[in-house]
C-alpha cells in the first residue's frame, strides 16, 4: 500500500481538495435554501413539507386500518379505554349518550351519540346552523375567484373541492364585461343552477320585484379527534347529488394545513350538493388519517377508504344522483366520520 501511495503523489491532495469543494458547495446550497425559507417565513408563507407522497400516503392509509381501534373490548376494559381516549382528546364524558361499557370498541365510542338535549338546534328559520362540533378555520364570501385560502400564501379552488361536475352556480363576470354572449354559451343543461349574479343590465324586468343579489359563502370547520363526530343538516334542504372522492388521508391538524398543500382537494371526501331556500348548498366531509371512513346515514351502502391495490392518483369521483331528492330538515343526522 505504501508503494501504491507513492505512485501517484496527487491522489491524496486531489481527493482532499475535491471533498472540501463538495462540502463547501453543499454548505452554500444549504445556506441559500435556509435564506429562502427565512424570506418565505417572513412573508408569512410556511415552508412546504415536501412529503414523499407514496410513503406518507401508504403509512396514513395503514394507520386508518389500525385494527385495535375496531377490536371489540372486554366489557370491564371499556370504561378505562374510553376514559383514556376522552382524556387524551378532551372529549366531554358528561354528554355521552350511553354508559361507557355499552361502547364495544373505540370505533363505536368515536361515533357515539350525545344525550338528548346536549345540542339544542337553533330553530330560527333564517339561521344556518353548524353541522358539526369543531373550530371555525375559515368563513367568508367567495368574490371574483372561487378560491378558499388554506393558509396565508396558498388557496384551493372550490370547484376542485366539490368536483369538476359540481352544480356550483356561475359567478357572473364583473359588470363591465359584456356578459350576454358568455351567458348564452355558458348556460348548460343545469341552467337552473346557473344563477348569474345579475349585473345591472341583466337584472330582471322592472315589473317583477327585484330578486335579491346572491353571493356564495363558505365556512370551514375542523373537528379534533375528541369532538362529537356526527354530521347534521345545517338547514332545511334537498340533496340532489352525492360525490365520493377516494383520495389520500393526510392529517388535517394545523401543522399539516400549514405545510402540505392541496390537503382539502387531495384527501378522501364525500360531497353533498343540493338547494335550500336561498339557492345552492353544498357540504363536503373531508376525511383524515385517523378518521378514514365517512358514513352517510342517508346512503348506508356507501363505503369509503377502501384498500386500494396500488396507490393511484385520485380517480374521478363516484357520483350518485338522488332520485327522488333527499329532503333534510335542519338538525337531521346526515352522516359521521368514523375510524377504519
Amino acid at each position: 500500500s505504501g508503494s501504491k501511495g507513492k505512485g501517484n503523489p496527487f491522489l491524496v491532495p486531489g481527493a482532499t481538495v475535491a471533498t472540501i469543494a463538495m462540502l463547501g458547495a453543499l454548505h452554500a446550497r444549504r445556506m441559500y435554501s435556509d435564506k429562502k425559507i427565512e424570506e418565505a417565513r417572513e412573508s408569512g408563507i410556511e415552508p412546504e413539507l415536501q412529503p414523499d407522497v407514496k410513503v406518507l400516503n401508504s403509512v396514513f392509509h395503514l394507520l386508518s386500518y389500525f385494527e385495535p381501534r375496531r377490536k371489540e373490548l372486554p366489557v370491564w376494559v371499556r370504561p378505562y379505554a374510553h376514559r383514556a381516549w376522552a382524556r387524551a382528546f378532551h372529549s366531554n364524558l358528561e354528554e355521552v349518550g350511553l354508559p361507557l361499557k355499552e361502547y364495544a370498541s373505540l370505533k363505536d365510542f368515536a361515533i357515539r351519540r350525545l344525550k338528548d338535549g346536549a345540542r339544542p338546534i337553533n330553530s330560527d328559520p333564517h339561521t344556518l346552523m353548524s353541522p358539526v362540533d369543531g373550530t371555525v378555520l375559515r368563513v367568508g364570501e367567495l368574490k371574483e375567484g372561487v378560491m378558499i385560502e388554506q393558509v396565508k400564501g396558498f388557496s384551493y379552488s372550490v370547484s376542485s373541492l366539490l368536483g369538476a361536475r359540481s352544480l356550483l352556480p356561475l359567478m357572473a363576470p364583473p359588470a363591465h364585461e359584456d356578459t350576454s354572449c358568455q351567458q348564452e354559451n355558458k348556460l348548460s343543461s343545469k341552467s337552473w343552477w346557473r344563477i348569474s349574479l345579475a349585473s345591472p343590465k341583466l337584472r330582471e324586468e322592472p315589473s317583477s320585484p327585484p330578486s335579491p343579489m346572491k353571493g356564495l359563502f363558505y365556512c370551514v370547520i375542523y373537528l379534533t379527534p375528541g369532538n362529537y363526530h356526527r354530521i347534521h343538516s345545517p338547514v332545511d334542504w334537498n340533496v340532489l347529488v352525492r360525490r365520493h372522492f377516494s383520495g389520500r388521508l393526510y392529517p388535517l391538524h394545523s401543522r399539516a394545513i400549514r405545510t402540505i398543500k392541496n390537503l382539502y382537494v387531495e384527501n378522501e371526501r364525500v360531497v353533498l350538493e343540493g338547494r335550500w331556500q336561498e339557492g345552492y348548498m353544498a357540504m363536503a366531509a373531508v376525511g383524515a388519517t385517523n378518521i378514514g371512513s365517512i358514513e352517510l346515514f342517508i346512503e348506508p351502502g356507501l363505503r369509503t377508504n377502501l384498500p386500494r391495490k396500488k396507490l393511484v392518483q385520485s380517480e374521478a369521483p363516484q357520483e350518485r344522483v338522488y332520485e327522488p331528492q333527499v329532503m333534510l330538515k335542519k338538525g337531521d343526522e346526515v352522516g359521521a366520520f368514523n375510524m377504519g
Partner: protein
C-alpha cells in the same frame, strides 16, 4: 376531519343580507347558529 359548507345567500336586498355570526378561530357546537 373537516366539514366545508359552500352556499348561496342574499348579499344586498331589501329584506335581508346574510352575515356570519362566527369568525375564524371560534369553537362551535353542532346546532349553534353559523350565520343569519
Amino acid at each position: 376531519s373537516t366539514v366545508v359548507l359552500v352556499f348561496q345567500a342574499p348579499t344586498t336586498s331589501p329584506s335581508s343580507e346574510f352575515s356570519f355570526c362566527v369568525e375564524k378561530g371560534d369553537k362551535i357546537q353542532m346546532g349553534e347558529a353559523l350565520g343569519r
